[in-house]
């Protein structure tokens, strides 16, 4: 069964350079039968990166892709607290570069209007927007978004494909929050492999809206793959979650860029 992982990082992986870390990630991915990785953010993370740091982190991903472009895709890391710099970075890395998606993390709540020009530009470029979402019983970070906030953003941009990274981690709430937003997919990664997550996502959203991701290197490929391989869902649903849905989301921009895949 082909596997594409929609959520990987260079952080938490051994290696002194982006290339060394990427080689490590690929080695682990090979052991788990994972063909493609989507990678974003640099070697050292920042909640609220300056424009310079944003460019540095994206440069590190670009460096990681140099040797591994046939195994990995890059998503550009943007900060909506710096809209103009983010738009410039979107053009540099996606329109004029090899990256194929947008990563938004915890700098600003995603339902705020500063997100709109970034999302509009991403939509023009056919780049899916992957937004971190969490609902923490211990309290979210100051700018950390919930799935409910992502649903607000997604309703304003119904033609742009969004990925609810982690589906809030409190997935029983997160799945409900995005249920009526057909342009939002639930991503399984970055939380403990709690049984029932995948079954509920498939039941409430349909398997076509569920994506496998690992959040490696902070998480293992194994713990997150178990969420799909151990779920009581059909084989066809597993195939959609493990690769087909990710391919479908990326296919428009991959075609636009002339990137070929197996299909």
């Amino acid at each position: 069964m082909m596997i594409w992982d929609v959520h990987c990082h260079l952080s938490g992986v051994p290696g002194r350079t982006p290339d060394e870390r990427m080689a490590q990630l690929i080695a682990f991915a090979d052991r788990m039968g994972i063909e493609r990785l989507c990678v974003f953010m640099g070697m050292n993370w920042s909640y609220d990166p300056t424009p310079d740091d944003m460019r540095k982190q994206n440069d590190e991903v670009l460096a990681a892709l140099e040797r591994w472009h046939y195994r990995a895709f890059g998503f550009v890391y943007l900060n909506p607290n710096h809209v103009e710099a983010s738009l410039a970075e979107l053009d540099r890395c996606v329109r004029d570069g090899p990256m194929v998606g947008v990563k938004l993390w915890v700098a600003r709540h995603c339902n705020t209007p500063e997100l709109d020009p970034i999302v509009e530009r991403a939509g023009e470029l056919k780049a899916p927007v992957l937004q971190h979402t969490y609902i923490k019983a211990t309290g979210n970070l100051p700018g950390e978004s919930t799935p409910m906030e992502l649903a607000e953003l997604a309703r304003r941009h119904p033609d742009v494909p969004f990925i609810a990274a982690h589906t809030g981690a409190d997935w029983e709430v997160g799945i409900r929050a995005i249920r009526d937003c057909k342009n939002v997919s639930a991503e399984l990664c970055g939380s403990d492999p709690t049984a029932g997550f995948t079954e509920m996502a498939v039941r409430e959203l349909g398997a076509e809206r569920v994506l496998y991701g690992s959040d490696a290197g902070g998480r293992s490929f194994a713990s997150q793959l178990g969420k799909v391989l151990g779920a009581d869902i059909s084989e066809s649903a597993k195939r959609l979650i493990l690769s087909d849905n990710c391919k479908r989301l990326l296919m428009p921009i991959l075609k636009q860029k002339g990137v070929k895949t197996d299909e």
Partner: protein, 310 residues
């Protein structure tokens, strides 16, 4: 660029073998032979058929949701399908129920009735309850349990509590294995009315020094134990560590750089976690055959006082 190019960079045969194994996990409901291949691909002969011992499963109902495998027969079927020969079972009821004696009696009966020779009961003991010593006695004398499972964060005591030290004393005297669950659920995703901060295991360092023959296993520990604390615990006594909450790429191999191999045991935290998550961790790390064999079963057998191979 076409993905076909990368196949020339590494072994196509290796990739096909790996994807076949992953597909086998995905298929579920596998026979023991196939499950063995899932656990140790490429290491045939090391583990032998059905040699996986899961030291961390629970029966009955999780208080906040129904779990896909919380009916014991279904859980046992899944365990067997993944090659688990033996599973050490606590009870979710042991977290909050005050009538612990009935919890343990039901656990023992469930293991006998539905365990198909796989389930081994580990009763709950709450040293905050009056006459808890009799619960300990019943676990061993009436239910023939080889060990007990403790949940200090749900029972409301710290590990520097005198009752905990006395419990360790009595368990050691009886030759019981003590399993201590550091957490059951990520604090960030707990029900707001059922918050249970993970257990601070720091006091164990001093306690272990005075309990040289105590056999203790930490379950679901990794989020609450720093590298430095892990090293101190490992040096203090014969404490073992399960892999259920161990995470990060190559997590098992990373753990083996910090603690001796004989201290690491397989534990899944099923059915709260997907069993397959723990199974696949043994595949993700580049482990030798002897390392896999030790973690899969030999170390758990040693805890039971059995030969490493059986």
């Amino acid at each position: 660029m076409s993905s076909k190019g990368y196949m020339s960079d590494y072994s196509r045969r290796e990739f096909i073998r790996t994807t076949t194994v992953v597909a086998a996990v995905a298929a579920g409901g596998l026979g023991p032979d196939a499950a063995e291949a899932v656990v140790v691909p490429g290491a045939a002969g090391t583990a032998g058929r059905g040699t996986l011992i899961d030291t961390n499963i629970s029966l009955s109902r999780w208080p906040c949701r129904r779990l896909p495998l919380d009916e014991t027969p279904a859980l046992v079927a899944r365990l067997r399908s993944q090659g688990v020969k033996q599973a050490w079972a606590g009870s979710f009821d042991g977290l909050l129920h005050k009538d612990i004696a009935s919890v343990n009696a039901r656990l023992a009966a469930d293991c006998r009735k539905n365990g198909r020779g796989v389930l081994v009961p580990f009763g709950s003991v709450n040293p905050r309850l009056p006459d808890w010593e009799d619960d300990l006695r019943r676990c061993q004398e009436e239910h023939k349990m080889p060990g007990i499972r403790l949940h200090p964060n749900y029972h409301g005591y710290k590990l520097d509590d005198l009752a905990f030290a006395r419990l360790l004393d009595l368990a050691r005297e009886r030759g019981l294995i003590v399993q201590l669950a550091v957490s059951m659920e990520d604090e960030r995703t707990q029900h707001p009315l059922m918050r249970a901060p993970r257990v601070d295991v720091t006091p164990l360092i001093a306690l272990l020094a005075s309990q040289p023959n105590l056999r203790i296993v930490l379950l679901n520990w990794s989020r609450g134990v720093s590298s430095s604390l892990l090293a101190k615990l490992s040096a203090a006594g014969s404490v073992c560590f399960d892999i259920a909450t161990l995470d990060g790429v190559g997590g098992v191999a990373n753990l083996l750089e910090q603690v001796p191999l004989e201290r690491v045991v397989f534990g899944s935290h099923a059915p709260f976690f997907y069993l397959e998550s723990a199974v696949l961790k043994l595949k993700e790390s580049d482990l030798s055959e002897s390392q896999v064999a030790a973690i899969q079963a030999a170390n758990a057998r040693r805890l039971l006082g059995l030969p490493a191979r059986g």
